[in-house]
Each structure stands twice: as structure tokens, then as C-alpha cells.
């Protein structure tokens, strides 16, 4: 198990404008960062569908989804798997949030967020919270074999100023 990510953490820090992306969640469905403008977004980069730790992590976030939503945030997962693979994985785990395919060019979005691991050819296990204006408010890189849980995400969402609720 490598904890290289701690020696070399290039993840975009809080205060950076989140890089735009346009990725497939299904073979015929595109998801863009801009789709979430005016809302908060949680991005969970993870190495691969089906691997044991990722499966636990995504299952956990799936359960906590209502809590993210209560705090005004949507959630997406991003890995280098193909959209067809994501569809099968999401179905098998009954996931209720989109998994995005950072497949072609491979890992381009993970690179842009500073969380692509060239040696293993997958993204790191990294979390970002993004505010209503598209600014990163928190980022975290976990050792690849360690499930980072959701405490950090919830703490970050709770620390953001209250969302402007339209009258």
C-alpha cells in the first residue's frame, strides 16, 4: 500500500477555480461542471470501479447522499473507467449519483485537478468540495488503499457560508 500521495500532493487547493469538465456518465449522457453552477458539488475521484475500497467508499456516499443534498450539494464520482463499466457498476451497487468516465483522453480531468497518478495510470483517491461559484473549498488526497469516509466532506460543506436561498 503506497502513501506516496502524501509526499507529493499536487491536488488543487482551496480557493482555486475548479477546472471545467465534460464527461460521460453513460454512453449517451454527458455531464458538465457547468451543470452544477449555482449549487455545491462534491467530486470523489477514485482509482477504479469494482475494487474493494472504492466499492465501500461509493456505497457509503450513496447512503449519505441525502445528507449531502440537505447541505445543498450534488455528488459525482470520477474514475478512468469507461461509461459502460460505470453503468454496470452503478447498477450493481444501486448508486443514485453519476459516475463520470475520465476515459478519453485518459485521466485528463484528474490531471487538471492534480490527482492523476502516472505510474499506476489511475487517479488518486481524492475529494473536492466546490461552492456555488465554482471555487474549490476543500481538497483531500487519501492513501490509495484507505477509505477517506465522509466526515471531511460534511465538515467542509457545513463550514461554507449558508447558501443564498431564493426568496
Amino acid at each position: 500500500m503506497s502513501d506516496r500521495s502524501h509526499e507529493r500532493n499536487d491536488a488543487l487547493p482551496a480557493g482555486t477555480l475548479a477546472p471545467a469538465f465534460e464527461l460521460r456518465s453513460a454512453p449517451d449522457e454527458l455531464v458538465r461542471l457547468g451543470d452544477f453552477s449555482g449549487r455545491r458539488l462534491v467530486i470523489a475521484f477514485y482509482p477504479a470501479d469494482w475494487s474493494p475500497v472504492c466499492t465501500d467508499q461509493m456505497a457509503l456516499y450513496n447512503e449519505i447522499l441525502p445528507e449531502f443534498q440537505r447541505l445543498g450539494a450534488a455528488l459525482v464520482g470520477i474514475s478512468i473507467d469507461h461509461a459502460w463499466c460505470h453503468v454496470a457498476f452503478a447498477q450493481s451497487r444501486n448508486l443514485h449519483f453519476p459516475l463520470l468516465a475520465d476515459f478519453q483522453p485518459k485521466g485528463e480531468v484528474a490531471q487538471a485537478y492534480g490527482v492523476y497518478d502516472d505510474e499506476i495510470g489511475m487517479s488518486e483517491r481524492a475529494l473536492f468540495t466546490i461552492d456555488e461559484e465554482g471555487v474549490i473549498r476543500w481538497s483531500f488526497v487519501s492513501p490509495i488503499g484507505v477509505n477517506p469516509g465522509a466526515d471531511g466532506i460534511l465538515a467542509s460543506l457545513e463550514s461554507m457560508p449558508a447558501a443564498q436561498v431564493p426568496a
Partner: protein, 179 residues
């Protein structure tokens, strides 16, 4: 890696709200976050029972709910059933029945267990169907999330997450190191 990451701590202390086995004065408290439909929790249940026997009055055991209902379709209702039995003073009897029958957790089964325990069935069914204990289940679940529960079962030994195994031997070793 243990140098980088401190083991998470239980954020909601054990208190009046909890289902507890063993004396409050016990030197070691074991808290489990579990799911009645999770096979790993079923295995852990047997370990906990062994450990409780061996430790006797040195151990206080607490169970909190962490149902992964999107993977285990009966887990949430089973947790409600345990709480509904708890409202009639029979939490632990139901807890043991649920782990003994992990593959039979449909509503009809849950009512059968309540009947076997001689519960007030009308009240029990009203509680389960009406989600009477939803707030408590949510509090259990979120307290787990905030304490670093990332899957089930997750144990805390005197308030610190136990990252080792949960066979009886591994649990005993962790618990005894606190004595």
C-alpha cells in the same frame, strides 16, 4: 501510514440514549456500528458474544445502527424492528434474533420474531410501519459517519476506532490492552 492518520474517535459519547450490555463501571467499552443484513456483521456478532462471555463485567458493549440500505434492502427495517422491540424493553432479544436469521428479515419475519418475544404486536407494527424511530436511526448513522465509520462492522474500543480484525481473538487482544 498510521503515523499520517490518527485513528478516528467516537464523536457521540456512549450515554443514556444507547443500548448497553454490561456494567457502566466496566473498564472497557466496545461500541459496534452494524447492519443486521450484513454478513460480516453476522460473523462479528458471534465474536462479540464470545468476547462478552470471556470479559464478563470488564466489558460494556454498545450497539448502534449503520444500515447500508442501498445494498441491503432489509437492513433499515430490521433496525427499526430492533428499536420497536427496544421501545418495549426487548432490544437485545430482538437484536440476537435478527442476527440469527439474517436471511429472513422481511416484514412478515420481523412480526414473527416480535410474536415469539410476546411483544405488543399492534404497537410494534405501528412503530415499524410508521418509522417511529427514524430520528434515532439517523442519529446513529450520522454519528458513525462523523466518527469514521466507513463500512460495517466498525468497532470502537474506549472511543478509538479499532482498525484490526473482528474475530474474537483480535477483539480480545484490543480490549485486554485497555485493562
Amino acid at each position: 501510514m498510521s503515523v499520517v492518520f490518527e485513528r478516528p474517535r467516537l464523536t457521540l459519547p456512549v450515554g443514556e440514549r444507547d443500548h448497553v450490555l454490561g456494567p457502566a463501571t466496566a473498564p472497557v467499552t466496545l461500541v459496534e456500528y452494524g447492519d443486521y443484513e450484513c454478513p460480516y456483521c453476522g460473523a462479528a456478532h458471534a465474536s462479540v458474544e464470545q468476547v462478552r462471555q470471556v470479559m464478563g463485567n470488564d466489558l460494556r458493549f454498545v450497539f448502534r445502527h449503520f444500515p447500508l440500505s442501498q445494498i441491503h434492502p432489509h437492513a433499515y427495517q430490521a433496525a427499526e424492528a430492533a428499536e420497536a422491540a427496544g421501545a418495549q424493553g426487548r432490544f437485545w432479544e430482538m437484536h440476537h434474533l435478527l442476527f440469527a436469521h439474517q436471511d429472513r428479515l422481511g416484514l412478515r419475519d420481523l412480526i414473527g420474531y416480535a410474536g415469539a418475544l410476546g411483544l405488543d404486536l399492534e404497537r410494534y407494527v405501528t412503530d415499524v410501519r410508521g418509522h417511529a424511530h427514524a430520528d434515532r436511526l439517523r442519529e446513529d448513522f450520522l454519528s458513525g459517519v462523523r466518527s469514521g465509520v466507513n463500512g460495517t462492522p466498525t468497532f470502537f474500543v474506549n472511543g478509538i476506532r479499532h482498525d484490526g480484525g473482528y474475530d474474537a481473538e483480535a477483539l480480545l487482544e484490543a480490549l485486554r490492552s485497555e485493562l
